[in-house]
Symmetry: C2
Subunit: 450 residues, 2 copies
């Protein structure tokens, strides 16, 4: 019998509950605050933006939440996703480590984002909402929401960070194929966008600005709500189906991870894989090192401040206690558009502060080098975002080669690069620069924080 | 228990043999002829172009050929591929028909092409070849061969039809990420290319021209061989793993197809799905109607002549008995670049002449309309090529809606459109024209045939 390449679950084995890590933590994360009163925000404050079902999930104290059947039914279009053993990469590296990757690129839009886009569209449709607004960076979240809205009959309007809008025209076409409307951000359509353009007419945008625009539009229309692709508790909750599946697949493999590595922008792909493993760690059933990898150009966890800050640039959201580079920080237009966010999920920030996980940052050239090595061995061309996780994975595997340790490494391959190929073109052309955030720029950006 | 969306096989259930339909046919297909002697070509004539193992497969009389373990090992990176029941599309159409699709877009390059690229690269590497040349249309074949060459350590040089090279820059970047070199065709690098450019400096190219260029280069270099992505017997042989898997999956589904529909350019995706079902039909175990769908702009089966013709434009290949529009026919630059071939696989042409299958042609607007409907229900945005099969599928399903027949329809979804999204942009912009080949142009092109 040949050595196994991938571990597949049947549809009938797909998890039917999302996992909420909060009740299992030694202490709960600090609550979001109302920027005026500085009191914890309540459901009423959030009602103009989100449907009640999602607000209740955001503050839930339950450990498990059932996935509605219509959501499971859409998940079955691509889930369960495969867990791969990267035997060809291991061989090319000459490492004794065993490398596994959980591959979310099998979804219709090629990333993990539909895991939360689908339930968000479902709950909104169920509560009578007819239109969703959102922001997107590289376009993975926007195309996921466009797909989800097509599925449940909602209109979808997307503000895409201009840097990505210009670099990655195919994503816009994908969103339009699913029936969505796409605007480059900053745009002239919102007060938030016009304010930025007045000051910086050539702004390449940021996720923070795009969020302001989408939030402003949703709040102004009774039939509309806003959808966020990362950062918030309910978003990370929906992504835990990744880790729950991976746990079942590790049982099939008869293995246990020693190191879990994922890339972090807002934190949803990382949290989705890591939280179920963190539950096992907290319960003493396994003891993986859990490591986040962020871009050197946007290092919120490793160099940001843990403070209350706005989730968006214009200051329209509640204050979130998180690792932040400052809500008006605009990162270099690196190719990993999905990692260009000034803050980090409050939940992941809290878990980091509790010492339950590690974080490192890596420059994009090392990441693309890892991406090319991965493509030429495993076949899948990774999106710019997960090349960060792969670069860290390769560092760990090469370390094992030196020490002879047979560590088991698990990484989150959250999407493919079919729509990000110009980034590889730039890497091959030699015109990709490394992008470490300077101390001066960091100090200037953090100066405005409490 | 929820209704099943897809039928998945475990790696251990993956077929380990390819199926050769020729011994099961009532008579064998006419042999290729040497253009000088008009005698059947022998292995020696083909040796400058192909490794011996592939030449032997081309003329094999065996019903089954074992898949080498190193090829199976690469297949496991994405195979077995899923068989889907298109429940959401059925519901949107309101049809009593049951629609299934076998989805090959899960491969690393997003199409069925690696099924033959991998064994072709393997056999060449085994016989000491160090460099493969090839042509590509939309780029699906070129990227598949680039991936396969990366896997077995071969150099890869691709001539891409200029119409697609210009329309679809992402495919070139994908080929380069796998390490290949890509030239637009016609190019100044070959005598065949220069001859075309001398007469038509603005030529947008054709598969026939690109084949001439790649064949010329391979023949001129002792360490190089040529690889073809469709048309030939050994290529269709390798693709039969699609149909063999689908047969096992239909057993799981407890269903049997009444109609099998696939798109045809050179015929490899169609033959790959259809031949194992044709075996079952010839043996009296099932009786599906087998229907090829080709573009109205390039209707080789439905309007071409069944005659001996060259496989390429410059006349460097053996003469193949096939349905052809004439080897110097250059179709309109429709978006389904992979279907822009003047001829049809000799094996499929022969089976068509035997009356064992049907063929129709459809214009591209109806195809893209079907593609959008499919994307918005099933989530997957289909490549321009299989939108032809989907359009025929929808015609059949709507016919069932009229008659009330609960037919079981099986179609080949041979790839996704992630790298072909500008074609959808053109469709939405309303600047896509229908493209039926005129009688005059057809007559002129056929005039040169025997």
């Amino acid at each position: 019998m040949a050595e196994r390449t991938k571990y597949i679950l049947d549809e009938a084995e797909m998890p039917t509950r999302w996992y909420n890590v909060i009740p299992d933590l030694p202490e709960p994360p600090p609550p979001p605050l109302h920027p005026g009163t500085r009191e914890p925000v309540g459901p009423d404050d959030l009602a103009p933006l989100f449907p009640l079902a999602l607000i209740m999930q955001e503050v839930s104290g339950e450990s498990y939440i059932d996935i509605p059947e219509p959501v499971l039914d859409v998940y079955r279009l691509w889930r369960p996703s495969p867990l791969y053993r990267a035997r060809r990469l291991e061989k090319a590296l000459g490492t004794p480590a065993r490398i596994y990757y959980k591959y979310e690129g099998v979804s219709p839009v090629g990333s993990h984002k539909p895991n939360t886009a689908v339930p968000q569209a479902f709950y909104n449709a169920q509560e009578g909402v007819t239109r969703l607004t959102t922001e997107t960076g590289a376009g993975q979240w926007g195309s996921a929401l466009a797909f989800a809205c097509a599925t449940f009959g909602l209109e979808c309007e997307v503000w895409q960070v201009r840097a990505s809008y210009d670099q990655k025209p195919y994503r816009k076409l994908m969103m339009e194929t699913f029936g969505a409307t796409v605007h480059p951000s900053p745009s002239e359509l919102t007060a938030s966008g016009r304010a930025i353009l007045a000051e910086h007419p050539d702004s390449t945008g940021s996720l923070g600005i795009a969020i302001s625009e989408a939030v402003e539009q949703a709040a102004a229309d009774e039939g509309a709500r806003y959808a966020l692709g990362s950062v918030l508790n309910h978003v990370l909750l929906h992504q835990t189906i990744i880790g729950e599946e991976a746990l079942k697949q590790f049982e099939l493999a008869g293995d246990t991870p020693d190191v879990l590595v994922g890339c972090t922008g807002g934190g949803s792909n990382f949290g989705g894989l890591a939280f179920p493993f963190l539950r096992e760690k907290l319960a003493g059933r396994m003891s993986p090192v859990i490591r986040a990898v962020e871009p050197a150009a946007c290092p919120s966890l490793t160099r940001g401040k843990y403070a209350y800050d706005f989730g968006d640039t214009a200051g329209l959201t509640p204050l979130l206690k998180m690792h932040t580079l400052g809500h008006d920080f605009i990162p270099d237009p690196i190719h990993a558009g999905g990692l260009r966010y000034h803050g980090m999920s409050p939940l992941i920030s809290h878990i980091y502060e509790l010492g339950l996980m590690e974080a490192i940052s890596i420059g994009q050239q090392e990441c693309f080098s890892a991406g090319v090595k991965f493509a030429r061995t495993e076949g899948i061309i990774p999106a710019p975002e997960p090349t960060h996780a792969l670069a860290a994975c390769i560092r760990e595997a090469l370390h094992c080669k030196e020490t002879g340790e047979e560590k088991v490494i698990l990484t989150a391959l959250c999407g493919h690069a079919h729509l990000d190929l110009p980034a590889y073109g730039s890497y091959f052309a030699g015109d990709m620069v490394d992008d470490e955030l300077s101390d001066d720029a960091l100090a200037e950006s953090l100066a405005g924080l409490p």
